[in-house]
């Protein structure tokens, strides 16, 4: 199993097989996004209380989910990078941090735009907003740390340790903020037996969530591949690749 892992994670192999993954996840992202946007913006009911502004949900909630999902991916990459010292995993950490920070910022911004008409304020010190803000700070920390070292591999390992310290702390931070103050509505989708959202809203939301996930993988592969050939620019396989394409 480990030889298998090492083979597929070696920079050269990764570069060749990830091309297809990047292509197909981009295609899926575009397809799901267009269907999901059609349903969520044009063909789903307006909320009886919130009116048309409820449509912000379809871009806000998937971004918030993805902001946490990205941290999980980053932590998985961190474990792999620390244990097996696989270069591709080390690259993934830094790229995940950038993508995660962007989606966290997107969730915060769309949340503010939604909060203004609903709660009457762009920002309230509510538990979920605050823990999302702290998550953004954690991402900034990982980005700053991984870029601070002259040697990229040292930076990646430092960032990996920070990510793992963070993964232990995130639940603690989350619950501490939860008990501190909450105004945000409770989870309405995760109760799988009886979701409190109506299917006409739930289906577009899930479509958008999947579209975001596919987009995340497309983005991750694209960024990781670009970073990979940059870091491996002096190796023979990258030089051969460049000659081929010229």
């Amino acid at each position: 199993m480990f030889t298998f892992l090492h083979k597929y994670a070696s920079p050269q192999y990764f570069y060749s097989w990830s091309a297809n993954w990047q292509k197909w996840s981009s295609v899926i992202a575009v397809l799901l996004m267009s269907v999901g946007l059609y349903y969520s913006l044009l063909n789903s009911p307006a909320d009886y209380q919130q009116g048309e502004t409820v449509r912000i949900m379809y871009v806000h909630v998937p971004a918030a989910w993805l902001s946490m999902f990205t941290y999980m991916v980053m932590a998985a990459a961190a474990i792999v990078a620390l244990i097996w010292r696989i270069k591709v995993a080390e690259i993934m950490i830094g790229q995940c941090a950038f993508i995660g920070a962007s989606f966290t910022a997107l969730a915060l911004i769309t949340g503010m735009l939604w909060g203004k008409p609903m709660w009457g304020a762009y920002w309230v010190w509510d538990a979920r907003l605050t823990s999302e803000l702290v998550l953004l700070f954690l991402y900034f920390g990982v980005i700053a740390l991984s870029g601070a070292f002259e040697d990229e591999r040292t930076g990646a390992r430092a960032a990996a340790i920070l990510t793992l310290v963070g993964i232990v702390n995130i639940p603690i931070i989350h619950y501490s903020v939860e008990w501190w103050n909450t105004l945000h509505q409770g989870p309405t989708v995760s109760k799988f037996d009886s979701p409190s959202a109506h299917p006409s809203m739930l289906i577009p939301l899930l479509l958008m969530a999947l579209a975001y996930k596919a987009y995340f993988f497309a983005l991750l592969f694209k960024r990781a591949r670009a970073e990979l050939i940059f870091r491996e620019r002096n190796t023979s396989w990258v030089k051969a690749l460049l000659k081929e394409s010229v």
């Binding site: 620390l82 900034f140 740390l145 601070a148 040697d151 040292t154 920070l162 702390n169 501490s176 903020v177």
Partner: protein
């Protein structure tokens, strides 16, 4: 255990020899706290409401300021590398260094905090909970700060970066401590907050030294 005591005594002795340096975070603590009435209002009731938060945030900053000297001088003169090369558990070694750091920085903060509470008119019934939360939580601050410092040890200007890395992890400590003090101020039960803080302390004692050892390995590369 012998290793723990040896390192602990060594670090305390070093701290005593450099006592002026040690006083800096404390002076910082006192100065920043006394800036708040100047900047906000000298009003008694308003400051009383603010006091728990102000004292705690300032204590966080003072603790952060002092983190850098946990490993810095040992790193600069190379003795940290020698200590890590010694036979024996590195986790014990690191725990001893963190414990010594807490005794030389955290404990003095706890001792002068009541003084600060008079400056900000903290209600008298909340004073015990201020001291207790500081006693439980300042070791957590030293532990979590050690991770940030260890990760940035080999960097120039690592001090600011390590504060950026550490502050988000301080959020639960800040929340539970100030909630406990504010609950005590209105005579509500507080033991639940102490239990949560103590649980956080135990988890930190158990896990953090391993993370610090790993971080130091990265710094020495």
């Amino acid at each position: 255990m012998r290793l723990f005591l040896f390192i602990f005594k060594r670090d305390i002795l070093l701290a005593i020899r450099r006592r002026r340096e040690l006083a800096n975070p404390l002076v910082f603590f006192i100065m920043v706290v006394s800036m708040f009435p100047l900047g906000v209002t000298p009003d008694h009731a308003f400051l009383a409401e603010l006091s728990a938060g102000v004292i705690w945030v300032t204590a966080l900053l003072a603790a952060l300021m002092s983190m850098d000297n946990m490993f810095r001088s040992d790193y600069d003169d190379g003795s940290l590398e020698q200590l890590l090369l010694m036979p024996g558990s590195k986790v014990v070694l690191i725990s001893a260094k963190i414990a010594a750091h807490w005794v030389s920085i955290g404990l003095p903060l706890v001792i002068i905090a009541p003084l600060m509470s008079f400056l900000l008119f903290l209600p008298a019934q909340a004073l015990p909970s201020l001291i207790i939360t500081l006693l439980i939580s300042t070791p957590i601050l030293s532990l979590l700060g050690a991770v940030g410092v260890a990760l940035t040890l080999s960097l120039r200007g690592g001090g600011v970066l390590s504060s950026l890395l550490t502050l988000p992890f301080y959020v639960p400590v800040l929340i539970f401590s100030t909630m406990a003090i504010n609950a005590a101020a209105v005579n509500q039960p507080v033991s639940g907050y102490y239990a949560l803080l103590a649980a956080f302390l135990i988890i930190s004692i158990l896990l953090v030294p391993f993370a610090v050892v790993a971080a130091l390995r990265v710094s020495y590369n």
